[in-house]
Symmetry: C2
Subunit: 615 residues, 2 copies
Amino acid sequence: MNPNQTVEDESHPSITAASRRIQCLSLHLTPLPPSQPSPQLNMLTCAKAANKLEVDKVSLSTYMRGKNRDIQEKIIEFFESRPDLQTPVGVSMNEHRELCMRQLVALVREAKIKPFRYVVDDPAKYFAITEAIGSIDVSLGIKLGVQFSLWGGSVLNLGTEKHRDKYFDGIDNLDYPGCFAMTELHHGSNVQGLQTTATFDPVTDEFIIDTPNDGAIKWWIGNASVHGKFATVFAKLILPTHDSKKVSDMGVHAFIIPIRDLNTLQTLPGIEIHDCGHKVGLNGVDNGALRFRSVRIPRDNLLNRFGDVSQDGKYTSSLPTINKRFAAMLGELVGGRVGLAYASVGFLKISVTIAVRYSLLRQQFGPPEQPEVSILDYQSQQHKLMPMLASSYAFHFATQYLVQKYSEMKKMHDEQLVADVHALSAGLKAYVTSYTAKSLSTCREACGGHGYAAVNRFGSLRNDHDIFQTFEGDNTVLMQQVAADLLKQYKDKFQGGTLSVTWNYLRESMNTYLSQPNPIIARWESADHLRDPKFQLDAFRYRTSRLLQSVAARLRKHSKTLGTFGAWNRCLNHLLLLAESHTESVILAKFIEAVHKYILNSNIFRLPCAYFLSF
Amino acid sequence: MNPNQTVEDESHPSITAASRRIQCLSLHLTPLPPSQPSPQLNMLTCAKAANKLEVDKVSLSTYMRGKNRDIQEKIIEFFESRPDLQTPVGVSMNEHRELCMRQLVALVREAKIKPFRYVVDDPAKYFAITEAIGSIDVSLGIKLGVQFSLWGGSVLNLGTEKHRDKYFDGIDNLDYPGCFAMTELHHGSNVQGLQTTATFDPVTDEFIIDTPNDGAIKWWIGNASVHGKFATVFAKLILPTHDSKKVSDMGVHAFIIPIRDLNTLQTLPGIEIHDCGHKVGLNGVDNGALRFRSVRIPRDNLLNRFGDVSQDGKYTSSLPTINKRFAAMLGELVGGRVGLAYASVGFLKISVTIAVRYSLLRQQFGPPEQPEVSILDYQSQQHKLMPMLASSYAFHFATQYLVQKYSEMKKMHDEQLVADVHALSAGLKAYVTSYTAKSLSTCREACGGHGYAAVNRFGSLRNDHDIFQTFEGDNTVLMQQVAADLLKQYKDKFQGGTLSVTWNYLRESMNTYLSQPNPIIARWESADHLRDPKFQLDAFRYRTSRLLQSVAARLRKHSKTLGTFGAWNRCLNHLLLLAESHTESVILAKFIEAVHKYILNSNIFRLPCAYFLSF
């Protein structure tokens, strides 16, 4: 199938397509038979409805939280029993940083919850812990993530047995607090552009780490300003070549660098640490900047899973190219992204719960001579909050699916699964965190003046969560990775390749949907049809297929004159829309599946799928 | 003209209308002749374009800031010269409150800028001062507004000569810091539902102020927690009736109540003050809660411009009903709303300037083997920031127009003008503050990690500005007032009444547009036509007219079964869309006017009107 045959060119739609569209649209404008009033859409006032809701809370809670409910409750109970470990409103930055460290130490040493053990072996449990911890204080959640998922995770995932043996216990029991030093002042998204160097010196069998210029200072490094004793530092590996005084750049690799004395906590020689100061939120995390001046580390400190250097300076790797090694390395770090998507849903749940509860209690205005009504009785308030409530459920199931896929990947190391989890985590992280960020603001607004009291949490949740849209991959960049993956799948399909699991529907959709007119305008159907999840999912997927096909055609056209980079940029908003549309299709599919599965076990509760469609 | 004749009923669109629409839409689908490449739309990379921009900065700045440019620069220079008066990042709440008071005192007593003098006599100058002050610290801007516009303004606008004589100097020179105590814990938006009482005691010639229950505690009162010595308190005026032991409730009135000793600052007897604590932002403002226990004040403390009580307890007013008096009182308080709309544009300007500048400097990724490009070169970044930049200009001119109308109103006291300014200020305040709030988040995101550094201001701007959407009228409530005003104008029109100045276009539009098909789909026209501001404005106004006519028909239909309150709620989102659409029409009209006027005097600069259309 040649995409140019079915997609209208941007500037010259074919007359045939135009006629077909007009015909379809005309069906829309045909008078609708008087509809039967649907019981679901009759609104009661909140006061009257209060006694009519039938929700089996226990079965729903069990279904939602699954087997990790116990550890979450243990964490909540532990912090509830310890007022000295609760973060006060208005705490200063320095106090907050120390408190966060105390909270983390208490979790591990007093509550005996050791998250590091689950990072690789039971990710679902690890993420459940971070969700509960995030509800205590988002800063604590991030501090925990820096320690166990970023610093600890880099040792486990990029290192080998010798690193695990040497560092596991210290990371696990917090004797070795550490950092993950990837981002530089001038390079955040473009990780391959990092400038820090690690030059091998065969004479001393050491790497020499250098920050060549101010733009290469490691920036925003969590745990660096106060508590970190080690850092995993990403730097270009520079090897001497034997036949001349030249060197070769082997691409970005990760190295363990001790940054503070284990006992005195003094900064080690050659290392400069600056404080990144106040941030919009997350001020319990001590972000710092690191500069290296000829810092020497043993050759063993190279995290050598994907590439190693021998004593005589020879490079070996199971992977053939710099790009492959770079991709493998980043692939191992995808857990952070999975965790952020999952945690972000947690903040959405907290926020929408506060806003819905308040909206039920708060009364303002009412019919003449009658009591004031709940503000949730207003159509505008429902419109603000109900799609958000439905989306919380939808995102919960979608990110649970992501965690499950990620756990499988950690066990199986299947290449296709790695690519699938990479794209899925990028899409869900970007989509969910953007949605939650907007929702936190909407919830504050929906709660009016009382929403502005710091004690009601919207401010700190929003400020703390805000950067979820940026770190572990800027959302706009991640969505482009999703689009790129879809285009790759699209191309592979026409070359007879296999489609990955998540994208599988595209096979069907491109064969089926695109040979038919748009399912929404194709026929005039009853309300039952419009509310049918199957139809809704069809409509979402049809949209994705159309966008994929049309952007592929546009890219092909523009790349002739603008080159690949220029064509991509010319179609950028189209690509972002494609990625968003695909991610919504995945979320809706997982939502429908989860609701269906629950309904099979229960005939009481109906999740409001329809609301999700309006977000 | 009967609206039911031209508007399709929700569920039964007429076949004729359907046919007409299909016919119009078909024009859209006709192949477009190959367009001439337009020079305006050719994008250069930022690096190449840098030398090509020709902007006459001086003439533009003079045009934008007008005659109040000098006082704004004087304020900026004063604070720049005084590092001791600059707000440090991470300042604690208590320090911030004291600093804000010092800043305000220095402004008045050292820089000799006395905003109170301009509140009534030169509002444009007053708002220009608040814009400059807000750029120093938003808390300071609000503290200033509480003192001069709310507390001071209530004395000038609701009181009479005796109040002006007694309080003017003390307010002006800050000897009398004061509060504006309207909102109660249980009543924010619904001001007529306030429960605080002021009962006249003819024996002592005093009013007795009481807080009857916890829900009636005055809440969120700025200046109350620390600095306020007086408060204008809104309470139901209760008068004894002569013939029985009954009393009559004369509705909400305003009273001046001393709350702290002028010298010792001790809280006065019968008054309880609680601190409202940390807020999401604006922590330099000391918000407090006030409870009154039989507090006695002299009869003279009634702000008696719209209603007075004689020594023997008789009520007199130039206005016949409680509702009329209430409306007159609120009408006088509209200045706060004007100020918020105006100030909000100021924060949008600051924010978009920071984001655009950073996006020019920050480089990330690029074509293969070429230097990295500015992130502003990416279509997605342009899409985020350029409509925002254009909107800053549009809002600037629209709020300048509002300030001009408000200034006329303060001079003329024309009833029609009062109603017009009321609706216009409601629409612009709600629209602009909602837009700015979203934009502040978008700007932070567009600046990535560095946008998250507190020193780069997005966090504090967002936290401080956030409540602009709520105070001085919740945006969702204000937009309903705009819709109600439009419906009133619509009704009046068909009863032969006159339309107010701002709404004047509706007369034309309802006569002209609605007898024609939608201007967008009516004909296929050239790019020149689509870019013609006249056509664009026609399209915006046509939309408003359609929404107005259709919601009027729906309200009429639903009120038969649901009553007025129920019908309004049933159509609420439709009404909000109408109000938004109308406000956009007004903004666009003022933008086009201002650009046209500037172009007449200059042929260098072209404001990007087209971008505004995409917001």
